[in-house]
């Protein structure tokens, strides 16, 4: 039913297109330039008609002065540059990455910034048997009874109010590692810890903390539930102030 409806719409569309071409010779004019320079309406300010009850205004390239045509040509050149850029970037990314192993070391020129903007292909490119979760701890100032300070587990939802996957991605600042290496990631962690500490101080002024520790917990992934096998045995410290 849905298929029939869409085909019906398309058939009507094609018929409409033919009617428009027949009724308005400018529609079929060769290489009519419409780079945003179409007139805002027909000469009398009303919609152009095509024998139907509706219309599309089309530009009249032939009647433009030569300066207008020059500007149109420049716009067309600029548009062509944009088109070539987008085509090239997509082809280059497909060639350089999914097809890299067939390219015998050859790759098309590409900067990492452009790659980073257009790389939209690698969704779920690997998987693992472990689940991972981030936990954030605060350490209070040392006291006589606790010379190393008290450890307070922070409510993650106050800092990363997202699902497990997104919180994990945000708290590990993997993007900074990917783009700027370990130093960039460390800097991002420092900045993140500073923000967590400041937010904690605003939300819980009664227990001031001095240091932030970001910890990752890993456990064997279980098909029966996300946290089913979660034990705080396999901990690794991602960052500590």
């Amino acid at each position: 039913m849905a298929v029939q409806q869409i085909e019906s719409i398309e058939d009507r569309g094609r018929q409409g297109g033919r009617r428009l071409q027949a009724a308005d010779p400018r529609f079929g004019a060769p290489m009519m330039d419409t780079l945003g320079t179409a007139p805002e309406s027909s000469s009398d300010g009303r919609a152009l008609t095509t024998g139907d009850s509706s219309a599309v205004a089309a530009p009249d390239a032939a009647s433009r002065p030569s300066s207008g045509r020059l500007a149109d040509g420049a716009r067309k050149l600029a548009a062509s540059a944009v088109i070539l850029f987008v085509l090239y970037v997509n082809v280059a990314i497909i060639f350089n990455y999914p097809l890299a192993k067939f390219a015998a070391g050859f790759s098309l020129p590409m900067t990492w910034q452009i790659y980073d903007c257009f790389q939209i292909f690698g969704v779920f490119s690997s998987y693992e048997m472990l689940n991972r979760d981030v936990e954030v701890y605060g350490i209070t100032a040392p006291t006589k009874s606790m010379p190393e300070g008290k450890i307070v587990r922070l409510d993650l939802a106050e800092y990363f109010p997202f699902g497990h996957g997104e919180s994990q991605g945000r708290a590990t600042v993997a993007r900074h590692l990917y783009n700027f290496g370990p130093v960039g990631q460390y800097d991002a962690y420092q900045s993140l810890a500073k923000k967590i500490r400041a937010r904690y101080a605003r939300l819980h002024p009664e227990i001031p903390i001095e240091k932030i520790v970001i910890v990752q917990v890993a456990w064997r992934r279980n098909l029966e539930g996300f946290e089913l096998m979660k034990l705080n045995e396999n901990l690794s410290i991602l960052f500590s102030e």
């Binding site: 849905a2 599309v56 067309k76 400041a198 029966e224």
Partner: protein, 295 residues
């Protein structure tokens, strides 16, 4: 030879086309973007303000105090609404693009997500194209819709087709995707919804996951081409909608529904005739029936 190549280039990219596919995409993508931003509506302070927790990329710690952050966030929503309505469309598109980029580099980029990249590309496309040529307040004020050069539509068509094909190729050549294990364990991953675990609780056989995995690869490899052909287009659109909805429901990744909002680019859309709009005081018509120029 050279002049024929130029002629062909001009025909492919600069022939005038009906603006409705682009207009429909502008509206659909704008609605998607509203939903995208609304996800943050209750956490603006923590996500975008100087009192929050975020990891900016390339732009430094420039988040303003909460009140200003809320205003900027509200401005992003308002500009997106203006884009949907086609009110000063070009300005709205540029403002939405800049505000999306601001929030992207402040907080979204850290997640390193493909859907954010597609959002950026589509919004950049709206800045460069005549997205308000039809079905917009701009068109009503002009009294007519207007044709758009083909590249306004076909470049975004190509980007979506490339996205599907590249993703399919990536999976086809990735050994992880050659069995059903990838899918099975992804359903038990941090991204999985309770429904994902319920599916696993049914203990489907291995071949089920393997079949689903190869179905995804086949769909992605062929979808980009299938969208260009009239006969296959409804099937691809139906399967694509199902695929992206299942990603939203089973994997809690609704953001990839932005792909679906680009489907109208491939459709020939009928006229939308608004007759006797009382607040305009007279009968006005915009739109016509015309093809997208696709096969």
């Amino acid at each position: 030879m050279f002049s024929r190549a130029i002629q062909l280039w001009n025909k492919i990219w600069f022939e005038p086309l009906a603006p409705y596919p682009l207009a429909a995409t502008r509206i659909a993508f704008g609605l998607y973007l509203i939903g995208y931003f609304l996800k943050y509506s209750t956490i603006v302070d923590v996500a975008f303000s100087s009192e929050g927790v975020y990891s900016p990329l390339l732009i430094g710690d420039i988040a303003p105090e909460p009140m200003i952050a809320r205003l900027i966030y509200a401005l992003a929503l308002a500009c997106t609404v203006a884009l949907i309505l086609g009110f000063h469309t070009r300005i709205a598109a540029i403002a939405t693009f800049l505000l999306f980029q601001y929030h992207f580099y402040l907080n979204f980029a850290v997640t390193n997500s493909s859907y954010d990249r597609l959002n950026t590309i589509v919004l950049a496309g709206f800045c460069l194209t005549d997205a308000g040529a039809a079905w917009s307040i701009d068109a009503i004020r002009r009294g007519a819709a207007r044709l758009v050069p083909a590249w306004h539509i076909r470049l975004l068509q190509f980007e979506l087709a490339a996205l599907y094909f590249g993703s399919g190729l990536w999976k086809l050549l990735n050994p992880y995707w050659h069995t059903g294990q990838m899918l099975e364990y992804t359903l038990a991953s941090p991204w999985a919804s309770p429904l994902g675990f319920q599916i696993l609780a049914l203990e489907p056989p291995d071949w089920f996951f393997t079949a689903c995995t190869w179905a995804v690869i086949a769909f992605e490899l062929l979808a980009g081409f299938g969208l260009y052909f009239r006969r296959t287009r409804p099937v691809v659109m139906g399967l694509g909608l199902l695929f992206h909805l299942s990603n939203a429901v089973v994997l809690l990744i609704p953001e990839f529904l932005n792909c679906v909002t680009l489907y109208p680019l491939f459709m020939s859309l009928p006229a939308l005739t608004w007759q006797r709009l009382p607040w305009l005081g007279k009968s006005r018509t915009i739109g016509t029936q015309a093809t997208t120029g696709s096969i």
